[in-house]
Amino acid sequence: MHKGEVIYRHSATVRITHWVNALVLLVLLMSGLQIFNAHPALYLGEDSDFRNPVMAMGAVEEGETMKGVTTIFGYAIPTTGVFGLSGDADSGYDSRGFPWWSTLPGYRNLAMGRRWHFFFAWLFLMNGLAYLAWSFASGHLRRDLAPSRKELGHIGASIREHARLKFPKGEEAKRYNVLQKLAYLAVALLLLPLMLLTGLAMSPGMDAAFPVLLDMFGGRQSARTIHFVSATAIVLFFVVHLVMVLISGVWNNLRSMITGRYVIEPAEGKS
């Protein structure tokens, strides 16, 4: 029975930091939504212009009933049951930004949300530094993630192949393709560091120590908005990542991220 060549795809460092990061980001996301719910509105600049938020979630009275409304750049969108007004069978509907099932803890507790968030932020930092230090030192970034000029030239073809859900086989499958490389680089070198820096820019202590944090993002409230948008981008990356893992050989992918071993299917036309 010929099952294809087995290669060692992911090093132990990549595998461990990947799963630590996955857990840590989940906790950071859910505790972050708990913190956001304490004031579910976003602004631009240094301070909060309460009358003109960029985005706000809330409940409004409409006749006898309450409705959840999310306002983005002045446009009001009804979001009852999800944003602004949501609840569970036990307690009924309640005015809150994100629903209980998406926050940590599920009940309202800003203090606990902050504790979870800042503790896991330290884990996030240490795990991220370990990954980046190893990636630079071992050549992982240069060897496995940096796309070559040639690859960048074929980006259109790669997009077309992905759109048709055709994934590389044979020799080509031994490397990340150019879209994967760009996506992973964007997350590891842009989005995740951006989360850290915008997070720090919200700290009055860090702002005093490094006022440049405020200038980088155009003020504390802008930093908070960018933190939110960047978190949303990471969630979107996660959704695409998950879909790709599922449709490009889920067990092979999962095994490679757990044991490191990955089966290369022979390219068509060869045996």
């Binding site: 004031h39 301070d47 309460f50 504790r115 860090m206 490094f210």
Partner: protein, 260 residues
């Protein structure tokens, strides 16, 4: 590999994921209530405090802004109109007979009227107020430098914290335990921007913002900046005071060090 084994492994993985997601969603909730989890999570606060203390020298100032940056609508949060009878009487009288008391571990306990406080070395600063909830407002504050008060009262050798006892009550037990209080360490107490403000945006400090006196600790979050300050007490430990964690919100689980 046989088909059976493959299925077994899949079944194992599937069960593993189901278990993991249950633990994550339901478990974190339950974990939040466990004491040991709280203690582990609290260790993050210590790490944050020690790191920020290392990064901040006593001279590091919070950013100061210009008149043009003032928020037109500075939000008044927490108590906005204390109902304590003694406070209400002072407020009616424009705080003319009111006095701030400074005591505890000091050589010279003080009782100072607003006029006396206004005659002491002052500082005016336009700073950003960051609420723990997430919003920010920029205001202009003028007040007596806390260091000037402490120079006059002279701290005793054992003094390590300053506790601010306030007139307003945020709790609902109907006792003294409802009263707001806060505390800071000596590094923040002697910091240049740490003032007891009696003016806001060029006018006498209004009641919703903490009249007659509001603490400003510009490198920390809003809840550290106690309003309606009536009495300052120098202590060697926070353990014996109220919940023992150094503040009204701290006793409810918020960080004592609010630099983040």
């Amino acid at each position: 590999m046989s088909e059976e084994k493959r299925l077994d492994r899949r079944g194992f993985l599937a069960r593993g994921f189901a278990a993991a997601s249950t633990v994550l969603l339901g478990g974190c909730e339950e974990l939040s209530d466990r004491d040991w989890v709280k203690r582990v999570l609290e260790s993050g606060e210590t790490l944050t405090r020690v790191t920020q203390e290392a990064l901040l020298s006593p001279e590091t100032l919070a950013r100061e802004y210009s008149e043009a940056d003032l928020s037109p609508d500075f939000k008044a949060n927490g108590s906005t109109n204390p109902d304590d009878p003694a406070y209400v009487a002072h407020a009616k009288n424009g705080f003319a007979d009111w006095k701030l008391s400074v005591g505890g571990l000091v050589e010279t306990p003080l009782e100072l009227s607003l006029a006396e406080l206004r005659a002491m070395p002052s500082r005016t600063q336009i700073t950003r107020h960051d609420c723990v909830e997430g919003w920010s407002c920029i205001g202009k504050w003028k007040g007596v430098r806390l260091s000037a008060l402490l120079d006059r009262a002279r701290l005793k050798a054992g003094a390590r914290y300053l506790v601010f006892h306030c007139a307003d009550a945020l709790g609902s037990t109907g006792t003294e335990a409802d009263k707001y209080y806060e505390s800071i360490g000596l590094a923040d107490a002697f910091h240049e921007q740490t003032i007891l403000a009696y003016e806001m945006n060029g006018e006498t400090l209004p009641i919703p913002h903490g009249a007659p006196l509001r603490l400003r600790v510009e490198r920390q979050l809003g809840y550290k900046m106690a309003k309606y300050v009536m009495r300052i007490e120098a202590v060697d430990s926070l353990a014996g005071i109220r919940g023992g964690r150094g503040g009204f919100w701290e006793d409810l689980g918020y960080e004592w060090y609010a630099g983040i």
